[in-house]
């Protein structure tokens, strides 16, 4: 891909920026797709503390398809004039195409839904009981920042901070490490200025781990823990993951390269470097498979990328949220 890298990156960045700033969604979707997981749970609308999903889990089935399309069209971008045509016809990777390719979202959509319900169930058991903004929940802008497009990222994050402030939300609980790091460490002045305190859900669950006693048996007794790079090295959340797993009755198996020395799942470069991304994730999946077949992750990007090697290596990748859902009965609790 090195022969047309600039066009590929330009295309990815332009599309992401245009989508985010015009529709408020990185995929450019107008139709709400990020609230289904909360159906039937009866979460209060708004209020503080507020659960903030940042749409990262919900995006998984579509993000995979969007990356597939982007990688498929890379060859075309090398042709003179094609980048302009792609720009005009940006809807090649538009809402209807991506939705059609993703279908009902498949298993990854089910896992993502279950992970969010489990995180909510965990927070409820820990006594946090957050509200949720439903369709009014904006996207954070984190992907723009990670690609170096900070003006667009700042604009989106400012909108988010202003929304929390206007709704009187002073405490926010986010569910994925990328969003937390972006909002708390990269642009700290935005949320601080709006008087908002942001936590990752594991920072709230770990101190209340004794309240997470499982109501149902889990399908495994031990898990190999894969630490997300951002979670371990940027946020310093390592022990919290283990204490929550232990509270669910799970024995933690440590793979080579864990905690602060964890190895990446490859996900952050999937948008334009599909081959390199696949090789990095395979390298990590093999390390994990050498220790056990049941792997636990705490990041939607790790979930998506490592799960691609499940059948090849005989693995099952679980998000911690899924395990919380199984153990605490998010679905049953809502009934």
């Amino acid at each position: 891909m090195a022969s047309n890298t600039r066009r590929v990156i330009s295309q990815a960045l332009s599309t992401l920026q245009r989508n985010t700033l015009s529709t408020g969604d990185p995929l450019g979707f107008n139709q709400v797709y990020w609230t289904d997981w909360a159906q039937g749970l009866g979460l209060p609308k708004g209020g503080s503390p507020c659960l903030y999903t940042g749409r990262m889990y919900q995006m998984l089935p579509y993000a995979g398809q969007a990356a597939k399309l982007a990688n498929r069209y890379q060859g075309w971008l090398a042709c003179p004039g094609m980048s302009q045509l792609m720009n005009l016809g940006n809807r090649l990777a538009g809402e209807s195409t991506i939705r059609r390719m993703a279908g009902t979202g498949g298993e990854i959509a089910q896992r993502a839904r279950r992970a969010l319900r489990g995180i909510w169930a965990g927070l409820r058991a820990a006594g946090v009981g957050p509200g949720y903004l439903y369709d009014a929940e904006p996207y954070s802008g984190v992907l723009l920042h990670e690609l170096g497009a900070d003006p667009g990222a700042r604009t989106q994050a400012s909108r988010l901070a202003a929304l929390f402030q206007s709704k009187g939300i002073g405490e926010v609980v986010a569910v994925d490490p990328h969003t937390v790091h972006f909002l708390r460490d990269d642009f700290p002045e935005l949320l601080e200025g709006a008087g908002v305190k942001l936590s990752h859900y594991l920072e709230l669950l770990a101190p209340a781990a004794e309240r997470l006693a499982p109501k149902a048996e889990l399908p495994m007794t031990e898990v190999v823990v894969h630490d997300s790079c951002v979670m371990a090295r940027h946020l310093g959340i390592v022990e919290q993951t283990r204490s929550v797993a232990a509270a669910l009755g799970l024995k933690v198996l440590e793979p080579p390269n864990h905690g602060q020395d964890t190895a990446c799942c490859g996900g952050p470069i999937e948008y334009g470097f599909e081959d390199l991304c696949a090789e990095v994730s395979l390298l990590r999946a093999r390390e994990l498979a050498g220790v056990g077949s049941q792997v636990m992750v705490t990041c939607p990007i790790c979930l998506l990328n490592l799960s691609r090697h499940e059948s090849e290596l005989g693995l099952r990748i679980w998000d911690l949220g899924e395990l919380l859902d199984l153990a605490l009965g998010g679905d049953k609790a809502a009934a």
């Binding site: 920026q17 792609m86 170096g148 952050p268 470069i269 334009g272 990095v280």
Partner: protein, 112 residues
């Protein structure tokens, strides 16, 4: 790493902390899977950035590949810190993307 008021100087100052010990290279996942391609390692990337900043190199497709294929995983930083230098490698790479290629988000619109 504070970038204002002179981002180029701030980047060079941070880059100059590097002792070229290369301890960070072996832990870099993109270096590992590329079969040892230095340009796809942490040290390789910061050398490329140094030469782009000083005008020794121009940002072409290959160098863009090196710059944008970094996972921002910070594994190299951990090693660098453990060896006593603590360069902010991810920040260097990310700020270099923003400083050296500010038009990437516009180029398609303008027709590269």
């Amino acid at each position: 790493m504070k970038l204002t008021p002179d981002p180029k100087q701030a980047l060079l100052t941070e880059l100059n902390k590097c002792r070229a010990c290369r301890f960070c290279v072996d832990v870099c996942p993109t270096y590992q899977v590329s079969g040892g391609l230095e340009a796809l390692s942490s040290f390789g990337r910061i050398q490329i950035i140094r030469h782009l900043l000083t005008g020794m190199l121009e940002l072409d497709d290959s160098l863009s590949y090196a710059l944008y294929s970094c996972l921002q995983c910070r594994r190299c930083e951990n090693t660098c810190k453990a060896k006593g230098q603590a360069l902010e490698i991810c920040e260097i790479i990310q700020q270099a993307r923003a400083y050296l290629a500010p038009d990437y988000a516009k180029e398609v619109t303008n027709g590269v």
